[in-house]
Amino acid sequence: MSAELTAALVREDPYAEDCAEKATRLLAEMNALTSFHAERCLPYLRILSAAFHAKTQFDCLADLPFIPVRLFKELELRSQPQELIVKTLTSSGTTGQRPSRIFLDKSTASAQVHALVRIVRSFLGIKRLPMLILDHPGVVKGQNTFSARGAGILGFSQFGADHTYALLSDTLHPDWEAIGSFLDRHRRERILLFGFTFILWQHLLLVAEQDGRKLDFGDSILIHGGGWKKLEESKVSNTEFKQRLRHTLGIRSIHNYYGMVEQTGSIFMECEEGYFHPSDYSEVIVRDPRSLEVRTMGAPGLIESMSTIPMSYPGHVLLTEDLGIIQGPDGCRCGRRGTFFTVLGRLPTAELRGCSDTYQVPS
């Protein structure tokens, strides 16, 4: 495992492998991880026995035993003894639901950092950039448990210098003074902006628009993530999102990332062409939401996300509840190789109420 990891780390560009090369390498790593977790995580082993005849070695990526990402809300899934767990990540979770709990040991935590560094550096370069965090400092308080938002901010902070928070802790109102002096300090420098899609939209952009403020962030790159769910509800497209940020805040380059707390580190960055790219650490396939059969390129379905990172919990092959489309194997115009894809949003929720008039077509 660690030899392969080191080998992967040596290569600079995390997007150099083509699909075929990667499939072979990744399959070996994934099979190794499946065996590893089967030996150490009893609930995972039970699932493999019940649904996959206890097999741990598979012949292709599509056959790998995926588990629904929601399982981390329902079960305590850990492949290392509690005393080796150094950090527990939790998802924010929708109301009424239990949050996911992700248990990290030292080596998984550091593998997350390595992966994130290689992926993000390929967009930012190696120099630390002045960093404006489009959130409030209250999110990162807490000792050993972190919200996904807090973990994201801490994870990305390593790419920045002169970390400055753009929102005030108690009101979430823009701290225009702090933003202004940050910009004054870094005129003509390339700056990094980081935040959560909905937070920066709601609490920075909309407020700036309402106040009629116009800013110029200059040579800036924005990296944002956390999901489109709330923006989708307000019918804001990615194109509109970018246009309005460019117009009001003068942000030049904007990259969304797709990721989940269950696979922190191996995030999927949006390229200049607007597509998400798996890196050396990850791969995606898309499945039919009803049959769970693998869907071909161009057809929408549930995103299955693979990651080489998780060693302290069995989260290396996860079936998400997000819908996406594989746009191609290799050949994205941005130049990155391997699979590239788009995300359509969450699988619509529905609640069975038990009324016979809801779904049944009377015969």
Partner: protein
């Protein structure tokens, strides 16, 4: 928010409540009440959109004059000359999973002469909306005025203060609902003289004789699959009486053969009825199946767990808590036992309805006497699991809603 659903013309639920409190009870099976219930039945049956819905059709059938007469006969028979009269005012809390329950609860109480307050949830199905409309129309007719003055239907969600006010003036409180809501409502004090009847979450199972299935004809298997689908899918497997565990009785090999005979017929029936759930329901079932496996409750998951029929095999040493792993939409636990005598070992107090196929009446009677404490309140043929009975969860509702005058 409190909405007064019925009667329609009255603006204020407090005034209407006062009318209820002041009304004298009606005698049991008063002809006007029987006529009213029959009129509701007719108005449902005359509406083709409603009578097409299996749930509404069975409600309408239950309300017919003929059936009510049967109820009166058995009520009188059980009294054997004793004097039973209404208790006064009954407060009903309708469950959210099976919409029609409120009607049975209300009308049975009305039949023995009580005034009734029914609390519905703000979220209601379309069929119930139509049904309430028809009832409201009938209540407005002058001849049914004695019933109108004794009925109040309210819709509200979590206003505990109104629940407390109503609980202080009722003689019986009837709670239908999930464990959580029953627990919450029971904590609200009621009239010290009042009594409470509770119908919390239950679990139900079906039991099939493997050798009877193995030797059954194709047409019998098809019919059985149809009845099993009625029990399981009418309320999206969310009704307490819908089977969630299927127990096969027989030798292991015979059980395996019987399953291969039975399940394809269920699949075919579902295809014919065009039962299909939203995609996320399949994912819910996948998650529940994997959680069950992860907890050691289930040792094998049949292929295609996201399909309309999902089958998981119960582990030998599964704890009774597997009953809490619930998602509806057609997820079945399966188990095998060599002999009917082994059934009591796997039962628990949560178990309500045991529906069966392939057993003789004597065998079933014998089983009824060997049941563990509290487990199983109904044993009915497959196909009748959802049939409403005046005996529910071990209570005779007509007797529960009335009081006996000790006459010497």
């Amino acid at each position: 928010m409190i909405t007064m659903v019925l009667p329609k013309r009255k603006a204020d639920h407090k005034q209407q409540l006062q009318r209820l409190i002041e009304s004298k009870p009606l005698p049991p099976f008063d002809p006007l009440v029987v006529e009213f219930i029959d009129a509701v039945s007719k108005s449902v049956l005359l509406d083709s959109a409603m009578s097409r819905l299996p749930e509404m059709a069975s409600v309408a059938h239950w309300m017919r004059k003929g059936h009510i007469a049967e109820l009166r006969e058995s009520f009188q028979e059980r009294q054997k000359g004793r004097v039973c009269v209404a208790r006064g005012m009954v407060l009903h809390f309708a469950p959210s999973n099976v919409d029609s329950i409120f009607l049975y609860s209300w009308f049975l109480s009305m039949l023995v002469g009580n005034s009734n307050v029914v609390r519905l949830s703000q979220r209601r199905g379309e069929a119930v909306r139509l049904l309430l409309e028809k009832i409201g129309f009938l209540l407005d007719q002058p001849k049914f005025q004695p019933i109108e003055t004794r009925s109040l239907i309210l819709a509200y969600d979590h206003e505990d203060s109104i629940t407390e006010q109503l609980s202080q003036v009722c003689q019986v409180r009837v709670l239908w609902g999930g464990d959580e809501s029953v627990r919450r409502l029971r904590a609200i004090p009621m009239n010290p003289l009042g009594m409470e009847v509770v119908f919390p979450s239950r679990f139900s199972l079906a039991m099939l004789d493997a050798s009877e299935i193995s030797s059954a004809s194709e047409s019998l298997l098809r019919q059985l699959a149809g009845r099993f689908c009625n029990d399981s899918y009418w309320f999206d497997q969310k009704a307490c009486s819908s089977p969630r565990l299927v127990v096969w009785v027989g030798e292991r090999g015979t059980c395996d053969f019987a399953k291969r005979q039975f399940w394809p017929n269920v699949q075919e029936e579902i295809r014919k009825r065009n039962i299909q759930y939203p995609e996320v329901v399949g994912i819910d079932k996948l998650v529940t199946a994997y959680v069950s496996a992860g907890l050691g409750m289930v040792d094998s998951i049949e292929p295609n767990p996201t399909g309309t029929v999902s089958r998981v095999h119960l582990s030998q040493n599964a704890r009774p808590e597997f009953r809490n792993l619930e998602c509806g939409g057609g997820l079945f636990f399966e188990a095998e036992i060599p002999d009917l005598k082994c059934l009591p070992e796997i039962l628990s107090e949560r178990d309500q309805t045991l529906s069966y196929f392939g057993f003789r009446r004597e065998e079933i009677r014998e089983l009824a006497f060997s049941l563990p404490a509290r487990a199983v309140d109904r044993i009915v043929p497959i196909g009748s699991a959802l049939t409403f009975s005046t005996i529910w969860d071990g209570n005779d509702l007509l007797l529960t809603f009335s009081r006996e005058i000790d006459l010497e």
